[in-house]
Assembly symmetry: C2
Homo-oligomer: 352 residues x 2
């Protein structure tokens, strides 16, 4: 008998998913917690590791390089055009693993639930996580649930942590950009942030722009096969493209020269940014990559990226230059030049 | 120049730790986030992995068995007799790794901060985490910080995820208890829960009872050296000893017979429980182990445990019996017998 069959046989009182709400007992470790685990989490995430039902999940590894990364997700609203906090929390961590060159393997998920959360909303989120994990070919192998009183949380916060393996020949890091390298973006920027903002403010164009939340592991795997010597790779989430470029410039102690006319931005996103007073360069993405590679590899890499659905709009947007001030400079469409600095804060809070 | 020296050289405006407070910009990924990372987290947790400053931390592994575990910490109050949310969040995850028989290696830490949190409180918590990590011989190698609006969180929530390696000869799981096995507890139960409860309610005996939050990795390492064939091991946190015994009984499909007179409970804890209407069997612990091993190994194991400061009050409290109903039964001091069931909820919410 499998663990799930055993649970089904011994199941206690059934969770009332349709009308039920989270209360403090669901975070207690007692029977109510068990109900939630056995009737919601285990069936959704079903895998041999989680089914061990111990406090830590055991798995085997081969000798080599591994990566670990963690992200708390506090996005509001919980459901938005193109995704929800569940898919976002899986894709966000999968992409942090992938952009280090790793094959994502396992995730853990920790939930902080607010008393009063509708169980049907939680179920939607959990099923969305399960679907995203399947798509990203990762298993959610350990988890935890806590509940805080009404007014001490905000529906659901989800922290996901991921582990992955890095092929031996891959050596990607933010400190490897060299003058002469090309800078590539994998597609339209700003979709996620604008989708959230439009939805939050009910601006009425919400049906057009969707979050780009997507898992990038497969795109990255194909890129690495084509060009194992990629220098830097990062997903430009909070703070957008501008912030990621500045991080990489500082980490590598180089400058960058970017061409505004080459940066892919959807018309709808550009208009929305104008309307909302945002700069698309600083708007969050959840399914894009910034990649830096040797000049000689750039065209080949872009052509490989364009064959993938999540990289079909890839563009070389500029190059790395020597600059000890580590400035990121933008050639504007009008032929001017401006420095793209980091912002102090974010244009939009709670975007991921 | 090390990463820390480089940061020190290029440091921007200084964080005002004494008077400053967290605002939404600290969770933005922009300059304010960088300030927090470079001036608070990196110096406190300083290690080569975190200093890679990539979105995922890279480390090498040997072929073998690994474990991963995650826990969200939402305890209130943030500071309590014997510890704080920082040390608790490290020890909690270290103990989940250790009780699976692993040597804890690396942790990740994800912070959800509430707008308005005093930076001096955050610093205290971060330094406490760093000290706890040092004591537990683990490195905090990746992290994330998000900020939510005032009234959407509660000061600080910390999710820690840990990875560790399990020696090949070790094979511990909750499903390995067999009739005839002995059940051991590593010391006084209920200290953590009663310390928190007393402190919350200002009951005035708070100076006497302290949380038992402690890392158990070293105790476990010595136990495994002495008896590699330990069957089950778990730290009885939320829900206390009673809940953990029930979990193990159900996972192993066995019953248990426990002797009340053998269970170590401090007088102060017993009195406090009486006063507060709690049952010590269900009160949370943060530095204790429940261990199940073969009858022939039990005395030796207890003698080894007693040599360790965190196991000095270890006791054999009962034994595993055949029982397809999986009941945990207690022989009371008065000679009676009662079934120790799981509670529906928790006697105390937000205890860890």
């Amino acid at each position: 008998m499998t663990v799930l069959e055993k649970i089904k046989k011994n199941i206690g009182p059934k969770l009332d998913i349709k009308n039920g709400r989270i209360d403090l007992s669901h975070g207690s470790g007692g029977r109510a917690s068990t109900q939630l685990i056995e009737q919601l989490f285990l069936p959704a995430f079903n895998n041999q590791f989680l089914n061990q039902q111990d406090d830590a999940a055991l798995f085997s590894v081969s000798a080599g390089k591994m990566v670990v990364t963690t992200d708390a997700h506090v996005i509001t609203p919980l459901f938005f055009p193109g995704g929800d906090i569940g898919s976002l929390s899986v894709n966000g961590t999968v992409n942090d693993l992938a952009s280090s060159g790793a094959k994502p393997l396992y995730l853990t998920a920790s939930f902080i639930l607010e008393e009063g959360l509708a169980l049907c909303d939680l179920k939607k989120i959990v099923l969305s996580m399960a679907a995203a994990a399947k798509l990203a070919d990762v298993l959610i192998i350990a988890g935890d649930t806590k509940v805080v009183e009404r007014g001490k949380g905000d529906g659901v916060f989800i922290t996901t942590t991921g582990v992955g393996v890095v092929p031996n020949e891959v050596n990607i890091s933010g400190n490897k950009a060299k003058p002469g390298d090309k800078i590539i973006v994998s597609g339209f920027i700003g979709d996620h942030g604008v989708a959230i903002m439009a939805h939050r403010n009910n601006l009425g164009f919400s049906t057009k722009i969707q979050s780009d939340t997507n898992p990038l592991h497969d795109l990255v795997a194909k890129m690495i096969t084509a060009v194992p010597e990629i220098h830097c790779m990062r997903d430009p989430t909070r703070g957008g493209l501008a912030t990621t470029l500045n991080e990489l410039a500082q980490q590598s102690a180089v400058g960058m020269m970017i061409d505004e006319s080459k940066i892919p931005v959807r018309c709808e996103v550009a208009s929305a940014c104008e309307l909302l007073g945002l700069d698309a360069l600083y708007v969050a993405n959840e399914g894009k990559l910034v990649v830096i590679c040797d000049n000689k590899d750039a065209d080949h890499l872009v052509s490989v990226m364009r064959l993938h659905p999540f990289g079909s709009e890839s563009q070389i947007i500029g190059e790395v230059i020597a600059d000890e001030r580590c400035f990121v400079q933008l050639k504007t469409r009008l032929g001017g030049m401006r420095i793209i600095d980091r912002l102090y804060g974010e244009q939009l809070p709670r975007i991921c």
